[in-house]
């Protein structure tokens, strides 16, 4: 895990300890949306033949893993252990041959849905306007950070596999890429 990259990303995207605190302050409410969010997410994936291929026969197990991830996202702490887990998620996705397109489109879906559900919580009075604004902004930044870590792990794992198959050192592959 490259902590300098994480620090730079957080500096640019604006995720701070205050954001983490804003999420954790309302985590008891946030975790209540995790099951519905997970169900809607997998309904979306099942509804397309390409994404459904990667889910068939494993739906319950995948949903349980996803609910756990959402819960960790909502409860924190958003520390090095949390960031390291996002990288592992990337590596696992490569190992089970999930295309990167599925990760980015899934993250996009989650960003939209999470804000939609939190807005409903604000409208019902479970969250104040300030809590909704602070939590949704923080979660969006957090999801972006998660995606960066997953994408980075994805790229590293794909390069590692290329290196393993071709016998080319990682430095050599980087040098080849740099030729253009």
């Amino acid at each position: 895990m490259n902590l300098d990259h994480i620090a730079l990303f957080k500096h640019v995207n604006g995720f701070t300890d205050a954001d983490s605190a804003a999420v954790q302050a309302v985590s008891s409410i946030l975790v209540t949306i995790a099951p519905q969010l997970t169900d809607e997410f997998y309904d979306q994936l099942v509804s397309h033949p390409e994404t459904n291929k990667h889910i068939e026969g494993r739906l319950d197990a995948l949903k349980a893993t996803h609910r756990q991830w959402m819960t960790e996202l909502f409860t924190g702490p958003h520390d090095e252990t949390f960031f390291a887990r996002q990288e592992i998620i990337g590596v696992v996705h490569v190992k089970v041959k999930i295309p990167p397109l599925f990760v980015s489109s899934s993250m996009s879906f989650l960003r939209h849905e999470v804000v939609h559900m939190l807005h409903a919580k604000a409208e019902s009075g479970e969250l104040t306007c300030e809590q909704f604004e602070a939590a949704s902004s923080a979660i969006l930044r957090l999801l972006d950070l998660c995606q960066m870590l997953i994408d980075t792990a994805y790229e590293a794992e794909r390069l590692r596999l290329l290196s393993e198959v071709t016998g080319m050192k990682l430095r050599l592959i980087e040098n080849l890429i740099a030729l253009n």
């Binding site: 071709t166 430095r171 050599l172 040098n175 030729l179």
Partner: protein, 120 residues
Amino acid sequence: MRADMLTSILSELNGSSADIEASAIVSTDGLMMAALLPSSMDEDRVGAMSAALLSLGDRTAKELARGGLEQVLIKGDKGYVLMTYAGDDAVLTVLAKSQAKLGLIFLDVKRAAESVSKVI
């Protein structure tokens, strides 16, 4: 100092046959260590491509049960590119003319690769 010694080996190799047009020594991660190449050629490209081809050749020879790699030979209608390991960490790349007598060049290149491996 080491670069001078490597360049001297390349100079001797290029002089050993009129059919050898250019040569270079590259690290296995594709970085140029010494080169006697035409000015029109990009050293970075030659280095990275040579190391990549030798790595792939090495892996292919193993996968297809051809034993340890001795060399990779590319033939184009304007000549040859010959690549061989020079020790464990370097690649010797030679460009030869299309009418080159390969047997003699193989011998000269093998000798030069041994000299390079002693320097590195």
